[in-house]
Subunit: 202 residues, 2 copies
Amino acid sequence: MNEYPSVLLENAVSQFASLPGIGRKTALRLVLNLLRRDSNEVNHFASALTRLKTEVHYCKYCHNISDTEVCSICSSSKRQRQTICVVENIQDVLSIEKTGQYNGLYHVLGGVISPVDGIGPKDIELDSLVERIEPENIEEVILALPTTLEGDTTNYYIFKRLQQFNIRITQIARGVAIGNELEFTDEITLGRSIVNRTEFKG
Amino acid sequence: MNEYPSVLLENAVSQFASLPGIGRKTALRLVLNLLRRDSNEVNHFASALTRLKTEVHYCKYCHNISDTEVCSICSSSKRQRQTICVVENIQDVLSIEKTGQYNGLYHVLGGVISPVDGIGPKDIELDSLVERIEPENIEEVILALPTTLEGDTTNYYIFKRLQQFNIRITQIARGVAIGNELEFTDEITLGRSIVNRTEFKG
């Protein structure tokens, strides 16, 4: 027995409900919203999805999402080309771009090393990072991975692989988030922010 | 300047973000989830949407969503055919069906009368309700509209239109929700539940 009076409705709801964080009730609300629109709009919606999947590229250098073989960042003449910022995924590129504080290149790993989940160094874009260093004359690699056990493991692995090159290897600063009260900061972060204190340049 | 490095990504995110309750950050998360799936799955998703829109029917009697000209409820031989339950929308049919307490027919208005929003009696399926009473030998109409000002207005309007027929007109019970504490029940509901108290049948 179907929950809905229409198999077509059932299918559409199931598709939306397969997305992360969307339950069947929300899915139904979204589908009924689409159903109220005219056919053109729904076709645009559907074709945006299929075109995205069939036509999108991943930059052959940094593996960021792109409409072309080389992404707009890697092909830009305005970027500082001797620095690579290593991130876990595409969202991280967007987040760092939004800060306006970085003008170098990126390298999207597409994941971090996680033995528990069966993700090893070969499953992410690590070799391709190492292969970029010499041809592109990279001078600095900034590790901007999540501050988790998996992120740290991946950082260490990358550090080991890059030691053969005469480059600077840095990682993003860790500490108390700007605007946060100390009493609400977790003790590991707070502890490390004391150990790793920096010179006050009044 | 685009927020995203890909116009295709931008389009897909905008489509999802056009849905109610989905912001751009959530939309991006959903789109990147789809992007990780294989093309077949994404095509299924897209075609579920276009097929829904192009192939779905609304039952010619009750206006519920359906895959056929007459919905599964209206065409069922197991339903009690002398009672119509009047509801605002398709979700309400699903909600009432889930209770398992109703075995009659439905009539989906597709809205309620709301002068503020410019919705009058002609904009919803009211005439078609009146036209069902005699041909279908309806004996009872249950008003199951929202317990709002608009719902009440619509109830009253339907009541006036149906008075010409020799049928029973009822409305769903209103009162303190089952499992609710009195102290957390709003005072209008509580007040009415005292005025409209029913005989206690030990």
